[in-house]
């Protein structure tokens, strides 16, 4: 039986004449165009994500009577420590992100390239998880602190309400994040992930 693929190979190699031909004049302007690769999209989205969380962590401060009450109770030092941890985490995550981003080389093997892209994207994901965890731990910590040092500030009712609203807020935040992620990264990385899994299978 004729090897079909050999037959295809013969035909494949005859297609040269039918291929488009670009001249140097066509090619020069192409060098000036901007890339629209997945990596570029990931970079833009990641910067936006960092910006949103920086705003949420540092930009929004509670104001008004409640804020001064909270401050009186938990004290300035706790706020300084919290800001310090946030700042340290931000520097760490941005540094890590940059390191991973710089590792992305289009001359690497496809699998290494895909792995590096996924790692870069994961860095931002970890930053977001850190923020959510910090939000939960910070709020719980603040309640515990207030409860132990100034129990008069929290009645049983307000504690219950606070816990419920915290859970609802978190559920909403995680829900919204998951939807955004599914839409954004789901579409952006679907093909990449599928190909990465295919390549991984090849190495088994």
């Amino acid at each position: 039986m004729v090897d079909e693929l050999e037959m295809l190979k013969k035909d494949w190699q005859k297609q040269e004449g039918s291929l488009p031909k670009y001249t140097k004049e066509d090619l020069y302007p192409m060098l000036l165009k901007k890339s629209s690769s997945v990596v570029k999209w990931i970079l833009f989205i990641s910067i936006a994500e960092f910006a949103v969380w920086i705003l949420l962590s540092f930009g929004i401060k509670i104001t008004g009577d409640d804020a001064s009450n909270v401050k009186t109770v938990i004290g300035d030092s706790v706020e300084y420590i919290s800001t310090g941890i946030h700042l340290a985490a931000l520097i760490f995550f941005i540094g890590w992100f940059y390191k991973n981003y710089k590792k992305i080389e289009n001359t690497d093997s496809p699998r290494v390239l895909m792995q590096n892209i996924l790692n870069t994207r994961k860095t931002v994901k970890y930053y977001i998880w850190f923020n959510l965890a910090f939000l939960v731990l910070g709020t719980v910590g603040a309640f515990v602190l207030i409860e132990t040092t100034h129990p008069e500030f929290l009645s049983t009712d307000s504690l219950f309400l606070a816990v419920i609203s915290l859970i609802i807020m978190l559920a909403l935040a995680i829900g919204i994040l998951l939807i955004i992620y599914r839409l954004l990264y789901g579409r952006l990385l679907k093909r990449l992930r599928a190909n990465y899994n295919q390549l991984k299978k090849l190495e088994l």
């Binding site: 080389e105 093997s109 496809p110 295919q198």
Partner: protein, 164 residues
């Protein structure tokens, strides 16, 4: 950027552009996407060019960057319907040299190759480009044994399509 480097790159790209066009033909479904992917591969090649040391052939290096772009980096700007215009989009089928059956078989083969997943397509592409398994494994970063095993599976798959 140094003008000589730019000239040098464009000359090399012009000489070897067929490789990029063939990758585009395999991974896209219409002329717009073809041009789009060609553009993206050109940008990626140009970006990586400072690291091209000349220890491998320019064409070999192009296969790696070109396939990486098609498989991983390229983001289709528009979604296209799967139905393809065979005559304008698919490959040229020489009707003079083949009888109808062969032509029919080739059409079936091409359309079967187009249906393969991105990785299998890359494997078949390098095979059709007459690359040996060592070159295929190097370009795709998989072992030679795995490249052979996978290629055999793809061959069987294609055979089955032709002889159901």
């Amino acid at each position: 950027m140094d003008k000589t480097v730019e000239d040098n790159f464009v000359t090399l790209l012009e000489e070897n552009q067929n490789i990029v066009h063939k990758i585009c033909r395999l991974y896209t479904n219409n002329r717009d996407q073809h041009n789009d992917l060609f553009q993206e591969i050109t940008i990626q090649l140009w970006r990586a060019f400072p690291k091209f040391r000349g220890d491998s052939k320019f064409s070999t290096w192009m296969y790696r960057v070109g396939l990486n772009t098609a498989i991983t980096l390229y983001r289709k700007s528009k979604r296209t319907v799967q139905t393809q215009d065979f005559d304008s989009v698919m490959f040229r089928i020489s009707s003079e040299e083949y009888d109808d059956t062969v032509e029919q078989q080739l059409k079936l083969m091409y359309s079967a190759v187009k249906e393969l997943n991105d990785i299998d397509k890359a494997l078949v592409f390098l095979y059709l480009e007459d690359k040996n398994y060592s070159e295929i494994s190097e370009t795709l970063g998989i072992s030679e044994v795995n490249a052979r095993v996978k290629m055999n599976r793809v061959k069987k798959k294609l055979k089955k399509i032709l002889n159901p």
